[in-house]
Amino acid sequence: MSSTDVLSPEPTPAAPKRREERDSVVIRFCGDSGDGMQLVGTQFTNVSASFGNDVSTLPDFPAEIRAPQGTLAGVSGFQLNFSSHDIFTPGDEVDTLVAMNPAALKTNLPDLKRGGTLIVNTDEFDKGNLQKAGYATSPLEDGDILSKYQIHKVAMTRLNRDAVSGLGLSMKDQDRSRNLFALGLVYWLYDRDRTPTEEWIQDKFKKKPDVVEANLRALRGGFNYGFSTESFTTHYAVPKAKLAPGKYRKITGNEAVAWGLAAAARLAGKSLFFGGYPITPASDILHTLSELKHFGIRTFQAEDEIAAMASVCGAAFAGEIAVTASSGPGICLKGEAMGLGVMTELPMIIVNVQRGGPSTGLPTKTEQSDLLLSFYGRNGDSPVPIVAASSPGDCFHLMIEAVRMAVDFMTPVVFLSDGYIANGSEPWSIPNFADLKPIEVKHPAGRPADAEGTADDFLPYLRNEKGARPWAIPGTPGLEHRIGGLEKADITGNVDYSANNHHKMVMNRINKVAGIANYIPLQTVEGPESGKLLVISWGGTFGAVRTAVQQSLKNGKSVAHAHLRYMNPFPKNLGEIVKRYEKVLIPELNAGQLSLLIRGKFLVDAQGLNKLQGKPFLVSEVVRKIDEMLES
């Protein structure tokens, strides 16, 4: 095929093509980490979201920026689920797998469903690449694979070179656009509109006209290949989803955290101070905020995690909405300064985008294993409120509530996200800023010196009805006072090590945080109000667990779902809810951390479903466990 054929505006199909409708489809693009798989996945998501599908995504990439080419360790993938109805997860099984090399095929094939569509770039299946992937012979000749899947062998590298030839690009630069050839092919297969991606290419590479041309040709080349080749007989349409009316955009968890922080500071009439240190998977929060200087946001890239947290304590004392974001290893380092925040009772936010641990663990993979760290990872009785977002978009609204809580109760608040929420994306109903509820901040007024030259004594640890102390900020005359990590006397805030005072102050701090239960929403339950089984989940497992419970309910099972967003304190009706069901199941991406807390607090025999693979739950895994518990 010559390049003119590929570029022909109206190619002729080799055979008539069928168009079928599908309810929802799961696609996974996978290739070498330099193959641009995240880019094509993101483009497909954007195009599908703006078309009106509900979408949910799961990027999966190696910790190494460029692992050795062609190896299993270097495989990068992007999975997305797009649908004509509400979806909460990126999907259990893959309907269409695009594998750019043997290593990608080997690591991803187990997730492709029987009878699914498999598109491979045959040009990369040479001896060297097969060897790196550990294949003795080419899997493309393997009768087993051929019989299990609808396989499309596409000489993508060669076809793409044909499409982009004549632009004077080097072979290497020609091959750079190969991912867009693959994207174009899948666009044809799922009847997508290329225009948004073409516009994106034109904008992104506007300074390099030859790159624009190459990428456009690659995209159209792939699209037209699907249209004209005999290999593809059918293409599929996924109609628009019935989302609530309104204007939408796509948002990732990290973006929503950053925007939530920015919005919360504005709602509080304050500027935002962000002290952070780069760490996967939290760095995008720093990146996003550092672009928003015109919103009055100061970002401080500290020398380490400790300094980041310490600078946040300083900024909070100075009267800022102060925040840091990190992940497990960084949070460990912040522990001491978080304790200082607890002792000095200053408002601040600590975002933990959880990843697999312990130690460096799985930097790019998701886990929920820092719940107990958030509760207990500091010396002394050191209570902090903890909230956990349940989806990318939820990060925005929950963050505003977290900031409100921090300033209302004068306390550090831990905000839990995870790698899955942080990098995953979903359609987000764009709020009207004017509709968001303002955050009330009260600083005590200054007290000018009286005639004798002395002001009334200011009492920095005199509490209000919520147990919060006043937030007196430097620069206010007459309120000069000292705070610090040493135990403070009740009311006066002077240093005080006396026995009864310490007991009283520890309880003051504990009771203040416990009392937040009176101000947060009551726990809601999806499903029957009582019955055989209650499934309790928290954080990023919301989608999989909600979908599993809905499926079980449809099948007439007696099961209900309580998803927690407020972890400390728990909603005050949770204990009563838990006791209305015969059994309690707690699915978590850890070895049983919420289970320990629920069992300890409510004396129920909660059972765990624990997955420690750096991956989110599949819906089917949760359904199976629900069935098992209902049957036993």
Binding site: Y248, E320, A337, E480, R482, G484
Partner: protein
């Protein structure tokens, strides 16, 4: 009409807290000189913040009636950076010690200095851990016998000023607790500097390390062991015989004045030199080979971190207008569901 500031006195800066340093600790003198200097700076009392880490010296904020933050070990520079960056209207002092600043907090100290955050830092150097009752510190000399080094410390000592100059500090000075006039002068000069002002104060821990600085405080000998730096003046010292420092090639040497050797032959101090080499050379002078300089080693003008941060904010607002959330939310790809 310009608002007039109330006239403040040292008494206005005395807090109501009982001072709990050991009797005759060098810290008392530093506190007293600080209380003298603060009212002279023309800054309202409520705009001072004192931040400290952990150690004897770090109790300092409790004894000054300003805003204060007695924080955690080694982290005062980071906490102060958070305060100063978000509130450039405040004058923020960091009070630290040799263990706090150079051992557990060494990293934060370096980064505060290289950023040139507009903070005033006083490092109380007593060459010992006092609060934990007498272990050797990063500035203790090799061989010193302490509770944790009964057979003598084998750790090489660090010079706080070498460290500061190596970290590109823009204001570097040294004084001593017993020289009240000199200490006052240095504190005033530090307060006036734009950027990080780093001051080492030789401070007597009379309980655990009283002998450490006798060479520099004993009236009978100190003239031969310390050298007062003055900008534009030759480096001279001497208890009875007037001596000076001369450069022999790139190597400094002590020479007696007279007998054909005049002040013009000596090294002249230039605190404003953009090149830190002279300041570094002076910071290497160690007793007993050289007299140890007191005064301002380095005082140069350089961009200030918190100014730069806030200027960037202002520039972005000037360019884009104050951030509009609705515009932000609707930027990029959006779609409408009917």
């Amino acid at each position: 009409m310009t608002a007039t500031l109330p006239v403040l006195t040292p008494k206005d800066f005395a807090s109501d807290q009982e001072i709990r340093w050991c009797p005759r600790c060098g810290d008392y003198s530093i506190l007293a000189q600080m209380k003298k200097v603060l009212p002279t700076l023309g800054i309202p009392k409520e705009n001072f913040v004192f931040v400290s880490g952990i150690g004897c010296s770090s109790r300092f904020p409790y004894y000054v009636d300003t805003y204060g933050f007695h924080s955690i070990h080694g982290r005062a520079p980071a906490i102060a950076t958070g305060i100063k960056t978000s509130r450039p209207d405040l004058q923020v002092w960091v009070i630290t010690g040799d263990g706090d600043a150079l051992s557990i907090g060494g990293n934060h100290l370096m980064h505060m200095l290289r950023r040139n955050v507009n903070l005033k830092v006083i490092l109380f150097n007593n060459q010992i851990y006092g609060l934990t009752k007498g272990q050797y510190s990063p500035t203790s000399p090799v061989g010193v016998k302490t509770k944790s080094s009964p057979y003598g410390s084998v750790d090489n000592a660090l010079s706080p000023l070498c460290y500061a100059i190596g970290s590109e500090a823009t204001f570097v000075a040294r004084s001593i607790d017993v020289d009240i006039k000199h200490l006052t002068m240095v504190l005033e000069r530090a307060a006036q500097h734009q950027g990080t002002a780093f001051v080492e104060v030789y401070q007597d821990c009379n309980v655990f390390n009283h002998d450490a600085f006798l060479y520099a405080t004993d009236k009978n000998v100190k003239g031969d062991h310390i050298l007062y730096l003055e900008h534009g003046k030759p480096l001279t010292f001497g208890q009875t015989v007037k001596k000076g420092i001369r450069l022999n090639g790139a190597t400094p040497e002590v020479v007696d004045l007279g007998k054909g050797m005049s002040e013009d032959d000596l090294l002249f101090h230039d605190e404003k030199s953009a090149d830190p080499s002279l300041a570094f050379l002076l910071s290497r002078f160690k007793h007993p080979v050289f007299p140890e300089p007191l005064g301002i080693f380095r005082n140069v003008v350089a961009p200030v971190y918190d100014d730069q941060v806030n200027k960037q904010l202002e520039a972005e607002v000037a360019k884009k207008g104050t951030g509009d959330f609705d515009k932000l939310f609707h930027s990029g790809d959006t779609w409408v569901v009917e």
